[in-house]
């Protein structure tokens, strides 16, 4: 792991440039030197072509000089490209380092920093603002050196041609050097304002998006729009002014550049006419002067870019001027293995703004002791928990963990000894397993665990899943997984065996909750396509999205008399669904029972519109194909806007038989048909065990099916395998595919797996139902007491009876502390909290 010696915000802009690219920089310098030479050569050739070749009517010389000219141009262009590539690499590397450096820095900043910082602002700083600086750093070496060198070389060349003309040509440039910096200062002022205001705008957007529920709930659109519009208008003004000054610099520069030829014509013309300058030299001079323009312009652009990057960079870094309150890892030792005793004496915590959250709190806990913190919200319970975990730095008193002062420990020491479950725990994008192992792996303090690091076994993981009660959910994720034909063939084979046992043992009992695949029956919970093919496509030409364009299949539909009814079925589904959903907001809930998705709504709306005047047969081919797709998707058990007619049902059943025959005859291997002794790779594991589909969403029914499945898996010894697959379930962005309760259970499991000596739980079970809450409480009492010191912030008072200590907090103080029974008997604060104020 790279050690950050100097925090990113303290580094100068140019330090990033020289940090990582030394080799490239040297290469760049060499290329630049060659380029400058290659740029000069054509000028000399120009002169020679006019004077020696054309002037002397020497064809031989013309060829040679033109050849050299061409070669020089080719080399210069090629090198220009090389320079660009090097610039891009250097710039992007510097930007990359800057981003990493700033990101690594900001993760360590104290929580108080984030209370005044919006995520949107941080994102915009790292992504957008730093990019300006990175782009600049790309240019930072090549541009000034190339162009200054070119300028100098050309200037010298001009002087060798004619010193008088050279003086006239160059006389205007010093003017620029005086005026431009003044203009630039004004530009910088507006750029600073731009950076600040853009930052405010990013924050505002971030805030609105985080608070979207509140905004929509209060319908405060006008209010929010006004806030945004006001700021946006301010940015508009600032950006316009900023650009006015920026362009002022450019215009001035252009003017000077264009003035020079005028001077050359006057003086050069005079000299030439009076015979003091040959024509070839004048041509060369004009050529050289024109070539001065580009480097000069580039230098000016560079100057501006530097100023902009400077302003943007330092303005951005200034914002992150804060230090981590504690070192990340100990420099000269391994992280401490502390005992679990906690001593808090006279601890106080006052925020930056002077608000006192804790005052004079003292409490001691022996290793393995359990303490509940209760009190009204705002009484300081969570704050105390945060101080113990070093997330807040207490401002007075002493707080020690295993005899060592918490303020003096490193983050790694804390992570090595304390587990924290917060009230709304954060679940990261990734799989269940990744989230489960998060705290465990983080404790190692490495980017990735190596082969030598001990990892929890599957049994360990299953144990915590069971302890926290998320096991059944994970099992369900596993059962809903789709196996891969190449990777999971063994398991598939075993499941087919299990399927038969399942059918024998539970088939009858679950008959009305599951629709079993039967070759002679129409499946109401499967699509028309599945009913027709009664199998899974092996050939991609027969896959669901491709089959409506497959000639063999289309012919089959025509000959079976299925095409017309399918199209009219599709038409009916289309018009009726659009009729119901056409004007609703695109929410996935509305589309669960629809034959098309939110994304497809617009195209089917258009077709429904056409169907008002035209018949299905009159529609263009693409629309007919879309309707055929719809017809084939029709699943009577789900799509209730149309019902299945008897004649269609028998048509499909007859079609099924013919399809099997036709496929086996003409495209053998294109499908694998549903057979009791074959795994269906397009279906979930659950459907494969059932060899059918669940017909109801009713929780009781699914529970019953689950129980049977679990019993089977236990008997067959596949439970662990399926849970392992379930642990690969992707929880979605920030865990949005999990319920609130599941997220909390997963967070608790994550802390349990780490098996810390001290556990701090901040209303960690608040989103759980009574049953789960009680289970976890019992577990803490039986398995953790005496082993893990527990500080639990509790708002439900019915679970605190068996804690060793209960501390009642009020206004940042502990007002009462002792075992539950004692406090109740005292009839003090706790009694009041539990029984209400008398």
């Amino acid at each position: 792991m790279a050690k950050e010696k100097v925090p990113a915000y303290k580094k100068s802009l140019f330090s990033w440039l020289f940090e990582a690219n030394r080799g490239l920089q040297i290469l760049l310098l060499v290329v630049v030197a060659v380029t400058v030479f290659a740029r000069l050569l054509p000028l000399e050739m120009q002169k020679k072509i006019v004077n020696h070749a054309i002037g002397m009517k020497n064809l031989q010389a013309l060829w040679v000089y033109c050849g050299i000219y061409l070669a020089a141009v080719l080399v210069a262009s090629g090198l220009k490209y090389v320079i660009n590539v090097l610039q891009v690499v250097i710039g992007q590397r510097a930007l990359n380092n800057m981003r990493k450096g700033l990101y690594h820095h900001l993760l360590t900043l104290p929580l108080s920093f984030y209370r005044r910082t919006q995520p949107g602002m941080v994102v915009s700083a790292i992504i957008t603002e730093l990019a300006t600086a990175g782009d600049f750093l790309g240019m930072a070496v090549a541009i000034p050196i190339t162009n200054i060198a070119t300028l100098v070389v050309f200037a010298v060349y001009l002087f060798t041609l004619n010193w008088m003309l050279a003086v006239v040509t160059l006389v205007a440039y010093p003017v620029v050097l005086v005026v431009v910096p003044r203009l630039q200062r004004a530009t910088n002022k507006w750029n600073k304002k731009r950076v600040d205001t853009t930052r405010q705008l990013s924050s505002l957007i971030g805030e609105s998006i985080s608070g979207i529920q509140e905004i929509q709930g209060n319908s405060s659109f006008a209010l929010e729009n006004r806030r945004f519009d006001k700021l946006a208008d301010r940015i508009l003004k600032i950006r316009i002014k900023w650009n006015l000054y920026r362009n002022g610099v450019k215009v001035l520069n252009n003017f000077i550049n264009n003035l020079s030829p005028f001077l050359i014509f006057i003086l050069g013309g005079y000299l030439s006419i009076t015979g003091r300058l040959d024509l070839g030299a004048l041509v060369a001079f004009l050529g050289a002067q024109e070539k001065l323009m580009d480097p000069w312009k580039e230098l000016m652009d560079f100057y501006q870019a530097h100023q902009e990057a400077h302003v943007t960079y330092y303005r951005t870094m200034e914002y992150f001027t804060a230090e981590a309150e504690h070192p990340i890892a100990p420099a000269d030792r391994k992280p401490y293995e502390l005992t679990g005793d906690i001593a808090v004496s006279n601890v106080g915590f006052t925020t930056d703004t002077g608000i006192i959250l804790l005052r004079d709190v003292s409490v001691t806990l022996k290793p393995g002791e359990h303490m509940a913190l209760v009190g009204f919200s705002g009484s300081g319970k969570s704050t105390l928990g945060m101080c113990v975990t070093q997330l807040y730095s207490y401002t007075s008193g002493r707080l020690s963990l295993g005899g060592r002062e918490v303020a003096e420990l490193t983050k790694q020491d804390i992570a090595n000894n304390i587990g924290l479950v917060s009230q709304s725990p954060f679940i990261f994008t990734g799989t269940i397993k990744e989230n489960l192992l998060y705290a465990y792996i983080a404790r190692m303090g490495k980017e990735e665990p190596g082969p030598e690091d001990p990892m929890p076994t599957l049994d360990d993981m299953i144990q915590v899943l069971q302890q926290t009660g998320i096991f059944v959910d994970v099992l369900r994720f596993g059962l809903n997984a789709i196996l891969s034909r190449s990777k999971d063939a063994d398991l598939a084979e075993k499941i087919v065996v299990a399927r038969e046992k399942f059918r024998k043992e539970y088939g009858e009992e679950l008959g009305d909750l599951v629709e079993f695949f039967r070759e002679d029956q129409y499946l109401l919970h499967s699509s028309v396509l599945e009913n027709l093919t009664f199998g899974t496509a092996e050939d991609s030409k027969f896959a669901e999205h491709a089959i409506v364009g497959n000639d063999f299949f289309l012919e089959f539909l025509e000959s079976g008399g299925l095409m017309a009814p399918l199209l009219s079925l599709g038409g009916l589904l289309c018009t009726r669904t659009v009729d119901i959903l056409g004007n609703l907001p695109p929410d996935a809930v509305f589309f669960e029972q629809a034959p098309f998705t939110v994304e497809e709504l617009e195209s089917y709306k258009a077709i429904a519109e056409k169907l008002k005047k035209d018949k299905v047969s009159e529609l263009p081919d693409t629309d007919r194909q879309a309707l055929l797709t719809l017809g084939l998707r029709f699943t009577p058990g789900r799509h209730k806007m149309v019902s299945l007619s008897e004649s269609f049902r028998s048509l499909v059943l007859t079609g099924r038989k013919h399809f099997m025959e036709a496929v086996s005859r003409e495209h053998p291997g294109a499908f694998s048909f549903y057979r009791m002794n074959e795994y269906i790779f397009s279906q979930t594991i659950l459907n494969n065990i059932l060899f059918g589909k669940v017909t109801t969403q009713r929780p009781e029914a699914t529970d019953k099916i689950n129980q049977s499945i679990i019993a089977l898996l236990v008997a067959e010894d596949y439970l662990e395998t399926i849970v392992e697959i379930g642990m690969e379930f992707n929880v979605g962005s920030t865990g949005d595919r999990l319920s609130g309760g599941q997220r909390q259970k997963l967070a608790i499991a994550r802390a349990f797996l780490k098996a810390p000596r001290v556990l701090v739980m901040d209303e960690a079970t608040s989103a759980l139902d009574n049953k789960s809450q009680t289970r976890i409480q019992k577990l803490l009492e039986t398995r953790f007491k005496g082993k893990t010191t527990l500080i639990s912030v509790v708002h439900r008072l019915d679970i605190i009876k068996n804690f060793d200590k209960v501390a009642v907090m009020k206004a940042g103080k502990i007002v009462e502390m002792g075992p539950y029974d004692e406090l109740i008997a005292k009839k003090g604060m706790l009694y009041e909290l539990v029984h209400g104020k008398k």
Binding site: L572, R576, F590, S645
Partner: protein, 175 residues
């Protein structure tokens, strides 16, 4: 556009149309516009339960309202001494509309007495529908308020005066 009456060789209007008509007849939904009621009918699903199965249990927040399409169920109150039957619901009865409006723990248990088919609407889906039709919710609330008022008037007139304990607890319509 309304194409429910459209006849087709291979399909007929079916379950959705039936659900729609059934819900139109329930006072709780009768105030809804046709557009909105169509969506609610579309979101409703049919479930079948067997005798002895619970539709919901005391303390649970299942968030579902039920319209009995066939069969019947018994409403039970869990007293300290055990379950007491306090009522029966049968075909045509609509029950638990209130829980579509807000999270609520069940005070009772509802248990099927025979195989019954129900049209079920969940709070999750119903609130999505209400979000999409912001003017409809007041109409539902109106229907709820009216049914509470009517219930209390009837109760006061027919039962409360003859039962001293009940008399003291009157006033649910004053909530």
């Amino acid at each position: 556009m309304n194409s429910y009456t459209e006849k087709n060789e291979h399909t007929h209007a079916g379950e959705f149309q039936e659900n729609f008509e059934l819900l139109r007849g329930v006072p709780f939904f009768s105030g809804l516009s046709l557009e909105c009621c169509k969506v609610v009918a579309y979101l409703a699903v049919r479930e079948t339960v067997k005798a002895g199965e619970n539709l919901f249990t005391t303390g649970e927040d299942d968030g579902r309202a039920y319209l009995f399409l066939s069969g019947s169920a018994e409403l039970l109150y869990e007293s300290d001494t055990g379950e007491v039957a306090v009522g029966t619901f049968k075909t045509g009865d609509f029950i638990a509309g209130m829980c579509l409006l807000s999270p609520m723990q069940r005070v009772f248990t509802l248990r099927a007495r025979e195989t019954s088919t129900l049209l079920v609407i969940s709070r999750e889906k119903f609130s999505k529908a209400m979000e999409s039709f912001p003017h409809e919710l007041p109409r539902v609330l109106k229907a709820v308020v009216k049914s509470i008022r009517d219930w209390e008037e009837l109760f006061a007139r027919e039962h409360a005066l003859s039962c001293p304990g009940c008399k003291m607890r009157l006033g649910v319509s004053l909530l």
